[in-house]
Symmetry: C2
Subunit: 131 residues, 2 copies
C-alpha cells in the first residue's frame, strides 16, 4: 500500500474585511501586529520584512521557525489579504488570524483552512515504494 500522506502544517487563508484604514496603512503598526500574531499563535519569530506603498498600502511577512504569516493591506477598502501557515501541533494559525482581526478592529471576514500535505510518495511509484 502507498503511504498515507502526512500533514506538515495548517495554512489559513484569511480575507479580513472592515479593518481600521489608519492602522492598515501604518507600517510600524502592521509589523507589531505580525509580531503579536506570531507570539499568540505559539510560533517563533525569525524576522519581519515589510514595504509601504504610496499613496497607501502595506505588505509585510513574518518569517517563522514554523513557516510564515503574511499581510497585504488595502486601507482604502478596509481590506487585508492574510495568510498564516504554521507547522507543528504547538502552533495555531487561526489564533494568529484572530489576533490580527482584533488589532485591526475588523468587523468581519472569511477564513479558509488548507491542510499542507507534506511529503508523499509518487502515485507512479511501484507498490510499497517509499520516498
Amino acid at each position: 500500500m502507498y503511504e498515507v500522506p502526512s500533514v506538515v502544517g495548517r495554512h489559513v487563508i484569511y480575507e479580513m474585511q472592515d479593518g481600521n484604514p489608519n492602522l492598515l496603512n501604518n507600517e510600524e503598526f502592521v509589523k507589531d501586529a505580525l509580531k503579536q500574531a506570531a507570539e499568540d499563535s505559539g510560533a517563533t519569530l525569525l524576522s519581519i520584512v515589510s514595504h509601504k506603498f504610496e499613496p497607501q498600502g502595506v505588505t509585510a511577512v513574518a518569517l517563522l521557525s514554523e513557516s510564515h504569516i503574511s499581510i497585504h493591506t488595502w486601507p482604502e477598502h478596509g481590506y487585508a489579504a492574510v495568510d498564516a501557515f504554521t507547522c507543528g501541533e504547538h502552533t495555531d494559525p487561526e489564533t494568529a488570524c484572530g489576533t490580527l482581526r482584533k488589532l485591526f478592529n475588523s468587523g468581519y471576514g472569511t477564513m479558509k483552512l488548507v491542510r499542507r500535505l507534506g511529503p508523499s510518495v509518487s502515485p507512479g511509484l511501484p507498490q510499497g515504494a517509499a520516498l
Copy 2:
C-alpha cells in the same frame, strides 16, 4: 443588490515533491530560485528574507509589489511547501511555481488555486450599502 465580491489576486498552494535535496538545502540557490520565479511570473521583486535551519532546511519569502512567494523546504524528504500569491492580470503565480519545479528538478507535486476575494460588503449590511 450587494456588490459581487471582486477578485484581488490568485494564490497558488503548491506541494512540491521529489525535488533535489542538495538544491533544497542550499540557501543561496533557494533565494536565486525565488528571484527567477518572481521574474518569470511577471512580478516586481521588493526584497527577499531567508533562514537556514540546522541540520537541514531553508525557509524564504520573496516580497513582491504584487504580494509574495514563499518556500519552506524539507530536503531530507525532497519536499517543499510553496505558496505564490500575486495580484493583477500581468502576473501569473502558476508560472512562478513552474519555475521552482524546474529549478529544483521536482518530479511531481500538487497545486491548489485559491482566488483571493478582495474587498466585499458585509452580509449584515442593509441592501445597497457599500463599504
